[in-house]
Structure formats: structure tokens, C-alpha cells
Amino acid sequence: MTVSENVLDVKNLVMHYRTRKGPVYAVDNVTFHVGKGEAIGLVGESGCGKTSIALSLLKLLPTNADILNGEIRIMGDDIVPLPEKKMNKRRWRDISMVFQSAMNSLNPVFTVEDQILEAMLEHVPHLSEEEMNEKIDSLFDLVGLDPSLKTQYPHQYSGGMRQRAVIAMALSCDPDLIIADEPTTALDVIVQDSILKQIRDIQKELNMAMIYISHDIAVIAEVSERVGVMYAGKLVEMSSTENIFHNPIHPYTMALMSCFPSIVGEKTELVTLPGEPPDLLAPPPGCRFHPRCPYVTEICKEQDPDYKEHTQGHYAACWHPGGEK
């Protein structure tokens, strides 16, 4: 596989937030790639750096955050050194994003149509007005919305409709890669299901690459072909969805598999890991997972394991993959 075949190549990405108490490494040495038309998932607890990765890919970081190291190649071009103006040309055109909160993703003072049109005028200005209108209508059809609703304001939409509109907006400039950051979390289950299905169908139909981010591994399994598991700013394991579910080799993934967040039923069903995710201001030395790991040995406490390929396409960063001693 040559580099240019991938839509996205992330290599050794390091990103930190400058805080008053010291730097917080929210993304630490992360490497992965997304192939053409491929859907990958990123899973992890909240605060483990999933969203930080997404924002880094679009270079939408807050002012106190820096990308310190690494490459982000979109269709082969590294975007890390790009100045803001050139970056703006690539945003939405190459990568677009669907954000977490359906309720707040649309600007309340503009009509939905205007908000989609705005992006198109910026990136595909060669289209005529009719072409744009047609495009919007077809996008609305695609995401399951009535095109006649497009002149309404966001507050006239329900939560599910808004998220559909946001998805339509994300598709408006035919991006190569779409990042979906927990797009269904804020919605209720029935709507969640149908939107999830829609996202998957659209992704297949348009043969578009996608990164799906969620804390809910069940959702991830449904949409993605490969899954990356994140812990405390690091990518600890990445492999096909099959492998992650049935053959996890990182102890954290193993623990994750046995603790679906179930609120129903007795407490015994909830197998939780002992301890807390580490404080990223002062992460533990060595492997960041070692204080909570059942297989911990001396080396884990001293040296950070390399992120490497264990079997074909199955990457992990662990000294004792699969719990072996």
C-alpha cells in the first residue's frame, strides 16, 4: 500500500494543551491511516483525546493548544505546516465534520439552507445557483429530510432533524473524509438507530472515508471496519472490528469489552476497572495504563511500550499483548 492510496495518514501526532498547571498531552504519538472509502472507529473514555484528534485533523484547536510533532497527510499532503488561509481552502472540501451536539450544531439565526449554501459558496463557487439548490435538495433527500424544510430555522427542527441537516451540510462539498464525533449521543435511541444506519449507508453509497468517534463501542462496531482504542491520549490498539471484539490483545481493550455501560439490572453486571484514568497533567511513567492493568510487571512501570504491528493489521502498544507474561 503506497501512501497516496490513503485518504488520511497520521504519523506520530503529538498535541498538547498549555494550561497554567503545565502542558497536557491530549494526543501523544498517535499513528494511523484511513484508506479510501474506509470507515474506522475511535473509541475511548471521555477525556482520552478522541475529540482532540478530530480537532487536530481539521486544525481547529483552541488557542492554547499546539501540534508539537507529527504529520497529518490528507491525500498525501501534509497539512500541519499549512497556513490558516490555505487550510481554510481544504476544510470541508477535503475533511468535514459532524459534531457531537445535535442541538447546538446549527446557528440559530440563519436558515438551514443559508448555512449549507455558505459552505458551498466558499468551496465550490463555480456552481451556478440552480446547481447549488439542486444539490441541497438532493442532499436533503439523501439524509431523509423533506427539501421543502430547508428554508426553515434550526429551532423549528427536532433534534434528529437537526443532526440530519448537519450531516447534509457535511456532505455538501463532497469531502474525501468525514469525521463524525459522537453524532448520535445527544439523540434518543430510535432516532440514533436510524441516523446511524443512514450514516453507514451514505458512507457506503458515496464510498467516502469516515472516522467515527464514540465512547460507545456497540455503536462503533455497527459502523466501522477498523477500530482504534484510545487511552489517556494514546492509541493503544487498532485492528479490524472483528479482532477488537473477539481477539483483543491490549488489557484495556479487554476490560472495555467486558464493561458495556449498562444501567439496567444488578450492579454485579458492571465490571469496572479499578482506579481512574490518569491525570494527563502528570501521567504515570512507562505505560500509561499500568496502574490499572492486571498484568502489570516492572517493565510496564518504566518503559512506554512501542505501538507496533503484532499480527497482520493488528497494532497494539503493550508489553504483554493478550495478557501473556
Binding site: 433534534g159 449521543t185 445527544a186 434518543d188 444501567i263 469496572t272
Partner: protein
């Protein structure tokens, strides 16, 4: 949309009140299955569940559904404090409680906002725990407050003025002779002609009538504090009471209070104070502050706080509490009042600034002549400069004006810090 869920919520709440937690959780889970976006159900669930982690999870769900749910964010904060406390709590319990209920139960009891009496604890133990909890919460809020360096600067400014308040009586009784340093009748015979610029003898110089400027400034400080703080307390009390009444009774009472506040807001405070001032020439700063406080309290403060109070009351839990007949007093004092206090503190700080400027203004116009305050000093600087033709002495003018600015600035900066504490949306940053 569906009659069953709302009924369920009510029933669940009743079960919860009666302590039948498992039945309540059954109903709620059913509700949530039916409608996972049910904010109220998730919120109530966070009270019904026994395990702290799950409680936190439920509250987080509430916040996902509605990030602006203030009750939930307050509760989340509370719960995370408890979470942090788990270690501290262990030591506490091992020290004091022999054979106390198992820990999980204990936290569950505690987190129920002390609605169900925290049985099984001795009085001192409860107090200790409460104090501990209070201290934790205080530290947390303090950290948020201290994030803003300007807010700390404000605190320092107010502290310095506090020191100045004490300084004057001490200096008068020790080193300053009253013939020279009296703020109204003092005169330094050894210096001629007055006014003199700042020097070693008079740190800030003297004014046209030969009075030491520094001593006048210091003597005026307590007066200013009294005005400002009285106004602050009055505005907070009036504003809180009115807004709570509006939010609790709603309907006509709410309309009446809002419209009344609209009328009060039109009353021009300085004009009103001038009227009062002409009537009572020797009015005490306390009465003046009180007057200003009531005026703004019933006006702007009520309008601002009512908006917040209404929001809190319309929150699902309050509704649930009302449906179940939680009792008016209980709702007001256990839920509404605590949520309004930070905002009240914020309004207090704003009132200090307003009251002090208004007071200075009326003395600047020479209406309340007997009071010696910063406004009078500025007024004197102008008026006597006109009479004696010596020009405006900048060294009595500038310090007084600066005192105003710095005093007001100090309180205003504190209020900005409090604003962060009071609004959870800002805290994320």
C-alpha cells in the same frame, strides 16, 4: 406526547420519596427505554441509583441531553466532590464511626440532598461531614474564582481598602494630632500657604482649607464601606425574595413582580438619592445605602435574578418535587435558594459600585454637606479652587478620584470572578 411517561415520572418520584428505590428505578428505566432523551427521568434516576459511579453516569446523561441543566451540573459537581472524597471519607469514617452503615449506603444517603434524614449518624459526625463537604465545595469554587487573575486583583484592592478603614482610627489615636488631621476642621498651622503639594510632612499634600488629604481619604473609607455593603446586602435580600416569590408562585404574582421591577428600574437612583439627601441633610450612610439597595434590588436585581429563578423552577426535578407535593418551603429553601445565591453575590458586588458612585455624586453636588466622603473631597477641590483662584489642586483631586475608581474596580473585578463561579457554561474553559 404520551400519557404513560409523565405518569411514570410522578409515580417514580413518589416511590423515591417513600424510599422504595428499586421500584422507582424500575419505572424510570422503563421510561428511559421508551424515551432515552428523557431529561427528567435521567435526572431522577441519578438520585435513585445506589452506586456513585452510576449516579454520575446518569447525571452526565442529563447534561448530554441538556448541557444547560443547571441543577444537573450542580449535582454533577457535588457528586464528583464525593467521588474525590471517597478516600478522604474512608479515613473519616474509620476515625469516627464504628459500625456505621456500609459506605455505599452512606454516600447515597448523603447525596440525596439531605432530603431523607441522614439517619444512622451521630450529630457531631454529621456536622463534621457537612463541614468537610462545605470546605471541599468552597475550595472548588475558590479554584474557579482564582483562575481569573483580575478577580484576585479585585480581592486585593478591597482588602487594601479594608486595611485603610482600620488605619484611620489607629493613626488618629497614636500619631496624628486631631487639630491637624481632623477630616473636617483640621488645619496645619505650620504650613503656609495652603494647599501644599505632597511632601514628607503631608504625604498627599493638603487641600485649600489646610486639611491633610490623606487623613481625609482615610476618614472617608469606613463611610464608603458602610454605604456599599448596606446597599449590597439590601439589594441581595430584596432581589432574592422577590425573584423567589415570582418563580415560586408564577402566574399573576410573577407578572406583577416583573412589571413592578420594570417600574423600579425607571426610578433614577441618583435623583432619588438627591431627594432623600435634601430632606435628611445629616442622613447616615447606612440609610442611604439601604435606600439605594432597595431601589436597585426591586429593579434590576430582581429582573436579572427572576430570569434565573424561573429557569431553575422549570427544571424537571422541581416539577417532580411539586407534583409529589414536596412542600413550598422545602422547594424554596432546599433548591431555589442555594441555586440563586451565587447570582445574588454577583448582584451585590455590582450594587456596591453603583451605591458608592451615587453617594459620591450627591456629595459632589454638595447636597449632604456634613458627610465627609470622597465625593466631598472632589467637590471641595473644585469649589475652593474657584474661590481662592489657585487652580484645582490635582493632589487632592486625583487621589480621591482614584479611590473611587479603585474601590469600584475592586468590587467589580470580584463580581467578574463570581460570575465564573455562578455560570457553569463558562466554567468549562
Amino acid at each position: 406526547m404520551d400519557p404513560i411517561p409523565s405518569n411514570h415520572l410522578e409515580k417514580a418520584y413518589n416511590y423515591y420519596r417513600n424510599g422504595q428505590l428499586s421500584r422507582a428505578s424500575q419505572l424510570l428505566v422503563e421510561l428511559i427505554k421508551h424515551d432515552p432523551g428523557h431529561e427528567e427521568a435521567w435526572y431522577l434516576l441519578s438520585y435513585v441509583l445506589k452506586d456513585l459511579d452510576r449516579q454520575i453516569y446518569a447525571v452526565q446523561r442529563v447534561l448530554r441531553i441538556n448541557p444547560l441543566n443547571q441543577k444537573a451540573s450542580i449535582r454533577l459537581r457535588k457528586l464528583s466532590v464525593l467521588r474525590e472524597e471517597e478516600d478522604a471519607g474512608e479515613t473519616l469514617s474509620s476515625e469516627t464511626a464504628e459500625g456505621s452503615p456500609p459506605q455505599v449506603t452512606r454516600y447515597t444517603e448523603w447525596t440525596r440532598d439531605q432530603q431523607i434524614t441522614d439517619h444512622g449518624f451521630s450529630h457531631t459526625q454529621r456536622l463534621k461531614f457537612r463541614a468537610h463537604n462545605f470546605w471541599r465545595r468552597f475550595k472548588m469554587n475558590w479554584n474557579i474564582f482564582a483562575q481569573s487573575r483580575l478577580a484576585i486583583l479585585g480581592l486585593i484592592l478591597v482588602f487594601i481598602f479594608g486595611l485603610l478603614t482600620i488605619a484611620y482610627p489607629i493613626l488618629r489615636n497614636t500619631v496624628w494630632a486631631s487639630s491637624v488631621y481632623d477630616p473636617i476642621t483640621g488645619f496645619d498651622m505650620k504650613v503656609f500657604p495652603h494647599p501644599v503639594p505632597p511632601g514628607s510632612r503631608h504625604l498627599l499634600g493638603t487641600d485649600t482649607l489646610g486639611r491633610d488629604v490623606l487623613s481625609r481619604l482615610l476618614a472617608a473609607t469606613p463611610h464608603t464601606f458602610v454605604i456599599g455593603l448596606t446597599a449590597a446586602v439590601a439589594t441581595a435580600i430584596v432581589g432574592t425574595l422577590l425573584s423567589m416569590a415570582a418563580a415560586y408562585f408564577q402566574g399573576n404574582v410573577d407578572t406583577a413582580i416583573t412589571n413592578l421591577a420594570d417600574v423600579f428600574i425607571m426610578l433614577p437612583a441618583p435623583v432619588m438619592m438627591v431627594i432623600i439627601g435634601t430632606r435628611f441633610r445629616e442622613i447616615s450612610p447606612f440609610v442611604l445605602g439601604l435606600f439605594y439597595g432597595v431601589l436597585t434590588g426591586a429593579g434590576g436585581t430582581t429582573l436579572v435574578m427572576r430570569a434565573q429563578a424561573i429557569q431553575i423552577v422549570s427544571k424537571p426535578f422541581m416539577e417532580a418535587a411539586q407534583i409529589a407535593g414536596g412542600g413550598g418551603r422545602h422547594i424554596i429553601f432546599k433548591h431555589l435558594l442555594p441555586s440563586l445565591l451565587p447570582l445574588a453575590a454577583l448582584q451585590m458586588m455590582v450594587a456596591v459600585t453603583g451605591a458608592v458612585v451615587a453617594d459620591g455624586f450627591i456629595s459632589f453636588f454638595g447636597i449632604t454637606r456634613t458627610i465627609s466622603n470622597w465625593g466631598t473631597i472632589i467637590y471641595d477641590a473644585f469649589i475652593y479652587a474657584g474661590i481662592s483662584g489657585t487652580g484645582v489642586p490635582w493632589y487632592s483631586l486625583v487621589p480621591a478620584a482614584m479611590c473611587f475608581s479603585l474601590f469600584a474596580l475592586g468590587f467589580y473585578l470580584i463580581s467578574r470572578g463570581l460570575h465564573r463561579v455562578a455560570s457553569p457554561e463558562l466554567r468549562r474553559r
